[in-house]
């Protein structure tokens, strides 16, 4: 047993960030900072791995490694943390992607390294904090805490030609609009659960049993939609997605990876952790509109992605498509109807697995785009071609990640998408049918736009020879880039062929959550 | 209506008229010296109202301080300041209409409420030995405000010196 395991997990990056600030200035301070930050970030990964693979009980539906202390007594705010099958994989993924992001950045970030690594570690604290918080107040604090460093990462280290400051503030304000409404809903729930003698609660577990506004559908709906908006913007669900392509395009590679890999998951995580257990009735009453938004995200996201000529924007829009499956899965799991618990659990499992997979796959794809951009200084898909022969390692990795993304059986993406559809056909058959279109378009966009444009075709020797005079050189992946991507590729294959490693954990908690709300 | 009351009314309206005429003079005259003289008239009118209302002490103080001290100071200031004597400054600016309207509104509201209120009239007449009583009150009930005022005056004095010092 590790005492204060989760608190350690939250605090370690923060401490690391503080140490980064304290490293003395000097000629070698940048390399020292990079070296330190990467090594330090491995500690949370090791701790999270130890917690998940050794101590975590995948068959227990209750919270594990719980800690609870009174924090602000007068309003009954507690420092309450804990993980279950829903959050444990995401916490682990956060620590993994942070290590990879920092490792990759240590090679490509040359300006203002101290601030970059400080912000990155601060961001990790915010993200882990959200996943382990079981008190809504605490959740909100971490939620906002992650916002500021991400803003800086995009605005300062973004690509100058992609209007980083504009994109960053857009990302910031969009998220903030949602979160302030969530704040009001949090206050309302607290006051609704308080009585004349006892204070209200911010505790997510207690709220799930107390169900604030259970008898007042109007107020419950207001609170629901307030929180919904915060999460939907983060996911992002159509029509709240417009910040995403800008933010992704502008962000530095590691920032994009974290944004796609983890920050988007905060939204879907919130759906499952907050909206489903606390407002099951309202959610059920609104399943159709939510599922329709998910459908639009899926189909529209894939179509718009297909229309892109910018590699990074394409991947960004594909996120809209993929995150749509998660929402579809959640909606399918709680939809009213005669479906049995197993079908619903499959849908929810699929949604949760899709979160994890999308983090792995899209994280990898953003690395891949970033690596190409580092060399070519362009992301215009039309300017490439024939890279499969010219840079075989890069080609192989891109091929694998693309196939995982479009849902080729044997790779991770297939499992989760299949499960989402398997569940959705049971509860929302019509919608699920339409969403299959998204799969088709998604496959088309990857095969036609990415693989054909980049890997196949003829390598334009003349053009790139010309470019070489300007210091642009297309060479195959170097060792550190392969090292960065290797763990993600391994995960894609592992989950693709042996999904039970993670599904058991997820299933326990799906059944527990759905058992609470579906009679 | 007793003669006493009639006289009170007559006195009140006379004094009120003097105060108003003075006030109008003070704001309408373009020459600042005349405006200051108008102010004196207005102060005297107000003092007169106090006398009519049998608040002799306040009346005397009003004349001593406002007429005797403050206006004289103002006159000194005007005479010692170059340019102000001859200068005719405009008493109007572009916002006078809006200001007048607002002032009228406020006046209407106050007048309506004042007329509609059932005032608490003291049952007994104020005794004649008013000044010792006021003195005693200042030293007992109002001792703290009294001291606060002294501090306030000190601060004002310091401030005046700071502003005026070369």
């Amino acid at each position: 047993m590790v005492p204060f395991a989760l608190s350690l997990l939250v605090l370690l990056p923060l401490v690391g960030a503080a140490i980064v600030l304290l490293i003395p200035k000097g000629q070698k301070s940048d390399s020292l900072i990079k070296w330190f930050a990467v090594v330090w970030s491995v500690i949370p990964l090791l701790l999270a791995s130890y917690l998940w693979f050794v101590l975590f009980d995948p068959n227990a539906s209750k919270m594990q490694f719980e800690e609870a202390y009174l924090w602000i007594s007068s309003i009954n705010v507690r420092y309450h943390v804990g993980v279950d099958g829903l959050s444990m994989p995401l916490v682990w993924l956060t620590t993994l992607l942070t290590v990879l992001g920092l490792f990759y950045s240590s090679y490509v970030i040359h300006e203002r390294a101290r601030e970059f690594f400080f912000m990155f570690l601060l961001l990790e604290t915010g993200m882990i904090g959200v996943f382990v918080s079981l008190d809504f107040f605490l959740f909100y604090v971490f939620w906002e805490l992650g916002l500021v460093p991400m803003y800086f990462l995009i605005a300062i280290w973004g690509h100058a030609e992609d209007r980083p400051q504009y994109s960053a503030i857009k990302f910031f304000l969009y998220t903030l609009v949602g979160s302030v409404l969530m704040l009001l809903a949090i206050i309302a729930m607290y006051i609704n659960t308080s009585t004349a003698t006892t204070p209200g609660t911010f505790d997510l577990i207690e709220l799930a049993t107390k169900r604030p506004f259970a008898n007042d559908f109007v107020f419950a709906s207001l609170a629901f939609w307030g929180i919904f908006l915060a999460f939907a913007i983060k996911v992002p669900l159509f029509p709240f997605h417009t910040w995403l392509p800008d933010a992704h395009t502008a962000a530095p590679t590691a920032g994009s990876v974290i944004l796609a890999g983890i920050l988007l998951k905060l939204g879907t995580y919130g759906f499952v952790r907050v909206l489903v257990p606390i407002f099951p009735q309202v959610f059920q009453a609104n399943v159709l509109p939510i599922a329709i938004l998910a459908t639009i995200s899926i189909v529209y996201g894939a179509l718009v992605a297909m229309a892109q000529t910018d590699f990074k924007r394409l991947i960004a829009y594909s996120s809209v498509n993929h995150m749509g499956y998660v929402i579809l899965g959640v909606a399918a799991a709680v939809a009213i109807g005669g479906a049995n618990l197993t079908d619903r659990a499959i849908a929810l499992n699929g949604a949760m697995l899709q979160m994890f997979n999308h983090g792995v796959i899209t994280g990898a794809l953003f690395f891949i785009v970033g690596i190409l951009y580092e060399r070519a200084h362009t992301r215009d898909l039309k300017s490439f071609g024939g890279l499969g022969a010219k840079t075989p390692v890069y080609g192989a990795i891109l091929l694998t990640a693309s196939f995982a993304s479009l849902g080729l059986p044997g790779l991770a993406g297939f499992i989760s998408e299949f499960m989402v559809f398997r569940g959705a056909f049971a509860t929302l058959p019509l919608i699920a049918t339409i969403c299959v279109l998204g799969i088709v378009f998604g496959a088309a966009m990857m095969l036609w736009k990415v693989i054909q444009n980049v890997l196949l075709g003829v390598f334009d020797e003349k053009r790139w020879a010309e470019q070489e005079k300007h210091g642009v050189k297309l060479y195959d992946m170097t060792r550190f880039e392969v090292i960065t991507l290797a763990p993600l590729l391994f995960l894609m294959v592992l989950i693709g062929v042996y999904p039970s490693v993670i599904l058991n954990t997820l299933n326990t908690i799906s059944v527990a959550i759905l058992g609470q709300i579906v009679k | 209506m007793s003669t006493d009351l009639v006289l009170t009314y007559v006195g009140f309206f006379m004094m009120g008229a003097i105060a108003l005429i003075g006030a109008v003079l003070a704001v309408s005259q373009r020459n600042i010296l005349r405006a200051a003289l108008g102010l004196i008239v207005s102060f005297i009118g107000v003092a007169g109202i106090y006398f009519v209302l049998e608040a002799e002490f306040v009346g005397v103080v009003q004349i001593l301080i406002y007429v005797g001290a403050i206006t004289i100071l103002i006159l000194f200031a005007i005479m010692l300041t170059r340019g102000l004597m001859q200068g005719t400054t405009s008493g109007h600016n572009s916002q006078w209409l809006a200001a007048a309207l607002l002032a009228m509104l406020l006046f209407a509201a106050l007048a309506l409420v004042a007329l509609g209120t059932n005032w608490n009239v003291a049952a007994t007449r104020v005794s004649s030995d008013l000044i010792p009583k006021i003195g005693a009150e200042l030293m007992t009930t109002y001792v703290l405000p009294f001291e606060a005022v002294s501090l306030l005056l000190l601060a004002a004095l310091v401030g005046a010196i700071v502003i005026a010092r070369e």
Binding site: I72, I187, Y190 | -
Partner: protein, 476 residues
């Protein structure tokens, strides 16, 4: 004739007395010190303020009235006393080098600040409208002078004059209000006003009192003086005014309306709610348009007055404690922000334009980080004091049935994020501006900044003790 001596409980006004005596000492010290020794007067002021703080702590839980119910020592007053003293201490710490650089280092500077603090402390312990009025004058008068303290600077003079004229105007309103309240109830004592029957005259009187308070805390539409005065006054004085006057005036405002006029709450709550909406919205929207950081902070202070007004509208224990906590949080945060502006000055030049902050993150990373924290706290970001303050205020509003007001407040704080981020954006993402060297921060200024920073973070991360102290202290 025999006089019945009132209860001269000096202990209750000990903090006020100590500060007043320090003011006199500093004033006398001015006579016997050379121009090189003026710093000593600043230290003397600090000692006086800290001693007053000690005396104020001794009044915790005293719950007493004195001087024929002219003053009242309750925890509400003690909390605000300590808040004001904290603001004054930080202001004086910031002043040492600022006054020297701007050639306004005199004993009167410190003495006038102390006189103003005397008025403020009296104001938050006052239980009678007469005392409130006199305290209001005592706190304002030195500030009129201080605003104009840089006499060779025309904008400073204009600030002082403008502040004086409008302040005198608002005092007249306030005094008229007192007269009408007295006419309606026959008393100026807050508790006895509450005991008498409400009438139209009382309502009009309350309205005029409201105008007086609204001027002092800068509520729309009585806020016009604020940007000009804040811009023109010496920055240390602006910093002081923006926090301490607010704390003092809101203290009396809350006390007058919650203790004396709860019977009229039906009427004034709606009016104040509307004013709160206007104040927040106008403050934030106007702040968006400012390029000058002092003007921006001026409009932001207007907006913050609007947030605090929400707490007054909410009423009840939750509203009062939220307002108190917010005032404390705002005091530390705003002084920190102004402190950073002061620290970044070079001699008599100050970085007044947002664009002057370009590239500071590289030249002064620590200072840039501090200013970022203060800006985020002002914007209401966790885990800083400003967030908890806003949370408590909006919580109080929702709890007492003013959810729509909380919604407006929340949307407003959203707007505010944009302009609070602008200096941050400049510091971290713009190139350094020509003509500015790397700033050198004086040790005492650094001390003030660190103290403010510690306060902002401590109140944000461990707010429980302060919330407990702010709760339920308003004596009736």
């Amino acid at each position: 004739m025999s006089l019945s001596v009132p209860d001269l409980n000096l202990r209750i006004i000990a903090p006020v007395l100590i500060v007043a005596i320090s003011a006199l000492v500093v004033l006398l010290g001015e006579l016997v010190t050379s121009s090189a020794q003026k710093r000593g007067l600043g230290y003397a002021s600090l000692v006086g303020l800290l001693a007053a703080g000690g005396a104020a702590m001794g009044l915790w839980d005293a719950h007493a009235v004195a001087f024929r119910e002219m003053v009242r020592a309750d925890n509400f007053g003690v909390f605000l006393t300590l808040t004001i003293l904290a603001g004054a201490v930080l202001c004086i710490l910031l002043s040492f080098d600022f006054t020297r650089a701007h050639r306004i280092e005199t004993g009167e500077y410190y003495a006038l600040i102390l006189f103003s603090v005397t008025g403020m402390l009296l104001m938050v312990t006052a239980a009678d409208l007469i005392i409130i009025f006199l305290a209001l004058e005592l706190l304002s008068l030195p500030l009129y002078i201080l605003a104009a303290f840089k006499r060779e600077d025309e904008r400073s003079l204009e600030a002082g004059l403008k502040y004086f004229l409008l302040g005198a105007f608002s005092s007249a309103f306030f005094l008229y209000g007192i007269a009408l309240v007295y006419g309606a109830t026959g008393t100026t004592n807050l508790a006895r006003i509450a005991a008498s029957a409400p009438s139209e005259m009382l309502l009009i009187g309350a309205g005029l009192l409201l105008v007086g308070f609204a001027f002092k805390v800068a509520l729309v539409p009585f806020h016009w003086w604020t940007p000009d005065v804040y811009e023109g006054a010496p920055t240390t004085i602006t910093a002081f005014m923006s926090v301490a006057v607010k704390a003092a005036a809101f203290g009396a405002f809350l006390r007058a309306f919650l203790v004396a006029l709860p019977a009229l709450a039906m009427d004034w709550r709606v009016v104040l709610a509307i004013i709160a909406v206007l104040t927040m919205t106008l403050g934030n929207v106007a702040a968006l348009l400012q390029a000058n950081i002092k003007r921006m902070l001026a409009y932001s202070s207007i907006a913050h007055a609007g947030y605090i007004l929400i707490a007054l509208v909410a009423m009840g224990g939750a509203g009062v404690s939220a307002a108190l906590f917010y005032l404390l949080a705002y005091t530390l945060t705003n002084l920190g922000a102004f402190g950073a502006v002061i620290a970044l000055g070079e001699g008599e030049r100050e970085r007044l334009n947002v664009s002057d902050y370009g590239g500071l993150a590289r030249m002064q990373p620590l200072l840039a980080a501090m200013l970022t924290v203060f800006m985020l706290s002002l914007a209401g970001f966790p885990p800083f004091a400003g967030f908890v303050g806003k949370f408590l205020i909006f919580g109080a509003a929702v709890q007492n049935g003013w959810a729509w007001l909380a919604v407006v407040g929340v949307l407003n704080s959203l707007v505010s994020v944009y302009f609070y981020l602008r200096p941050v954006v400049a510091m971290y993402m713009s190139e350094p501006v020509e003509g500015w060297g790397a700033p050198r921060v004086a040790p005492l200024v650094a001390l003030a900044l660190v103290l403010a920073l510690i306060g902002v973070i401590a109140l944000g991360v461990f707010p429980a003790p302060a919330i407990a102290l702010a709760a339920g202290g308003l004596g009736r």
